[in-house]
Symmetry: C2
Subunit: 176 residues, 2 copies
């Protein structure tokens, strides 16, 4: 798929068919995510792919944000050995910006492969960490629920460009 | 450009020709960034495009991370009116993940348009904020330095996939 088209047509998808996702496709998504840039190229991430029905069921119970029956869920974790985890530091911000870039690569690749995906930030960390046996150096930051989409959702409302894009300076009144 | 090819061939570019970037291209980059997903679709961002030589010079003095003579710099800011700014909360993390997704859209779009870009997290916030007259509700989070690339840098070393990708669980030893 053309990149600009992918940026325009990617949606957050929350309803999926019951078709499973082949493991090679899931791996391809993680490969795409892992090509994101990161501060000093520290690649402070780990990805855990869940697609066993029993484990998915336990996962759904611990993450009410997963509305539908996702065929797979990918956990995006921070590897604390590679990225500073002290809130309020610029390193902390950079680690999360890097994880956000990895998330976006993953979401775009999913769209390219005909999948629909949705990022979910609402979950019970302790329950989820025990379900996938996360070691202490990995901290769960985000879930990506995935499957083959039932339909293409409408585009979400975007703030007008004049509100978010400025040339040279913003000005004391916060407008152009 | 094909999306998967863009993900594979995008590089952090730090050396540019002296050619200016047309304003329409710069605006297209911000449009791409603003299509990123965000928590509850809050779109907690603002982008300030700098391409006046005098202002770029002052910017470089306040951001030693800009190694070369970028034709333009785009400031990615958090709009505090739209996103929680309390470190240590999951909302704070989500806002930064969203800004990271916007950054990645911008970097990929730049690559598609034949530009080379590099994200820079090292700068003096107060100096930069005064150079572009940032109002208090906008907080500078990241700079993107841009231009037409002199050459295509080599691919950075990636951690092996076996270190960052797990199926079903990680295990207490932190390996597969």
């Amino acid at each position: 798929m053309d990149l600009m088209e992918a940026l325009r047509t990617r949606r957050s998808v929350r309803q999926w068919t019951s078709d499973p996702i082949p493991d090679e496709k899931l791996k391809e998504l993680v490969e795409a995510a892992a090509r994101a840039p990161s501060g000093s190229n520290n690649q402070p991430w780990a990805f855990v792919i869940i697609r066993e029905p029993g484990r998915l069921k336990r996962l759904r119970a611990a993450a009410p944000g997963i509305a539908g029956r996702a065929a797979a869920v990918i956990l995006i974790c921070l590897d604390r050995r590679l990225g500073d985890e002290t809130p309020g530091t610029s390193e902390y911000d950079m680690v999360h910006l890097s994880l956000g870039a990895a998330m976006q690569n993953l979401l775009l690749a999913a769209h390219d492969l005909g999948l629909g995906a949705c990022a979910i930030g609402s979950f019970h960390p302790a329950s989820l960490e025990s379900i996938v046996s996360l070691p202490p150096h990995l901290e769960l930051k985000l879930l990506i629920a995935l499957g083959f989409p039932v339909s293409q959702p409408d585009a979400p409302a975007l703030r007008p460009l004049s509100e978010v894009c400025y040339f040279e300076e913003v000005g004391s009144d916060g407008e152009h």
